[in-house]
Symmetry: C2
Subunit: 196 residues, 2 copies
C-alpha cells in the first residue's frame, strides 16, 4: 500500500484543524487518524501520546499567534501598537478556538521540545517592545506585561465560554478596555504602601 507520508507536523496540523472544527476535547487519536486516512496505531510512530499531541497543538498555536501579533504590530508604536497587538490576539482566538484552547492547558510537554519552540521568547520580546513607548521600568514593566496578557487572555476566554451573553456587545467593551489599558499605561501608579 502507498505510504501516507506522515510527519509530526502533518499530524499536529490535522489535530489542530480538528480542534478548531469540533472542539479540543473531541480531538482523539482515532479521529485524527481517520482524517489522515490511516489507522490510529500508525500515529504513534510520530507522536508519543494524545497528551503529547495536545501539547504540540498548543505550541503550534502559540507560534502562530506570535507571528500574527508580530505582523500586526510591525512599524507601530504607542496606542496603535497596543490596539494592533490586542486585536491580533483576539482575532487569532476567534479564528482558531480549538488551537487557542489548547494553549490554556497546564502543558505537560517535553521541556526539550518546548525549549526549541520560538514562540514564547519571541512573544515576550514583542510585548516588551510594544510597551517601550510608555516609559516603564522594571519591575513595573513585568507587572504591566502580565496585566495586559491576563486581560487579553481573560477577555477572549470569557467570550469563548459565553461569559458576555447579554446586553452590550463584547466588541464595545473590548474597545473600551483597550482605551482603559492605554490610559493606565500612560499613568502607571507608583508603589503603594502595603504592597510589600
Amino acid at each position: 500500500m502507498a505510504r501516507a507520508g506522515l510527519t509530526v507536523e502533518r499530524v499536529t496540523i490535522a489535530g489542530a484543524a480538528l480542534a478548531d472544527e469540533v472542539g479540543l476535547d473531541r480531538v482523539t487519536m482515532s479521529q485524527v487518524a481517520r482524517r489522515l486516512g490511516v489507522k490510529d496505531a500508525s500515529l504513534y510512530t510520530h507522536v508519543r501520546s494524545l497528551e503529547d499531541l495536545r501539547g504540540r497543538i498548543a505550541l503550534l498555536a502559540a507560534d502562530e499567534k506570535t507571528i500574527r501579533i508580530a505582523e500586526a504590530t510591525a512599524g507601530r508604536s504607542g496606542k496603535d501598537a497596543l490596539v494592533a497587538f490586542a486585536n491580533a490576539w483576539r482575532e487569532y482566538a476567534h479564528q482558531h478556538p480549538g488551537r487557542y484552547m489548547a494553549t490554556q492547558t497546564p502543558l505537560q510537554i517535553d521541556p526539550e521540545l518546548a525549549a526549541q519552540a520560538p514562540g514564547p521568547r519571541r512573544a515576550v520580546e514583542l510585548t516588551y517592545g510594544m510597551l517601550r513607548g510608555y516609559g516603564l521600568a522594571e519591575p513595573d514593566l513585568t507587572d504591566a506585561v502580565r496585566l495586559l496578557r491576563s486581560t487579553f487572555h481573560g477577555f477572549v476566554a470569557l467570550e469563548a465560554a459565553g461569559g458576555f451573553a447579554h446586553e452590550r456587545s463584547p466588541q464595545h467593551s473590548w474597545v473600551r478596555a483597550l482605551d482603559a489599558l492605554h490610559a493606565l499605561l500612560e499613568n502607571w501608579p507608583p508603589l503603594q504602601e502595603g504592597d510589600s
Copy 2:
C-alpha cells in the same frame, strides 16, 4: 445490598473533589463511581452524561466562588472591596483548580438548570455593588465589570497554565495589578474618538 444514598448533589460533589485532586480531564464516570462505592451505570440515574456532570461541577464552582466573594466583600467599599473581591476570586481558583477549570468550558448545559442556579445573577450584583463607590455610569459600568472579570480570570488562568514561570513572583504582579485597576477605576477614561 444497602443502598448508597446517592443524589445529584453527592455525585456532583464527588466529581468536583476528584477534579481538584487529579485534574478535570481525569474526571470520569468510572472514577466517580469507584469513589462512591457504586457501579458506573448507577450514576446515570442521577446525571445524564459525563458532559452533564461537568456542567454541574461548573455551576457548583460558580456558586461557591460567588459565596466566597460575597463573604469577603461584605461591609467593604472602595479599594478595600476591590482587593477583597479579587483575592477571594484568586484564592478560590487556587484552592479548587479542578472546579475552577470546569467554569472555563463553553458549558453546553441545560438552560433550565442554569437558570435556577443563583450564582450568575448574584455574581453580577456583587460586582456592580463593588464598583458603586467609583461613580461610574452605564455603559462604562458594564465595560469596567467586564474588564475586571477578564483580568481576574486571565491572571489565574495564566497562573494555572504556568504562564508566569520565571523571575518575579506572581504575587507581586497581582498586588500591582490591583493597584493599577484601582487607579484605572478612579480615573476611567472618557469615550475616545474612533470608539464607534
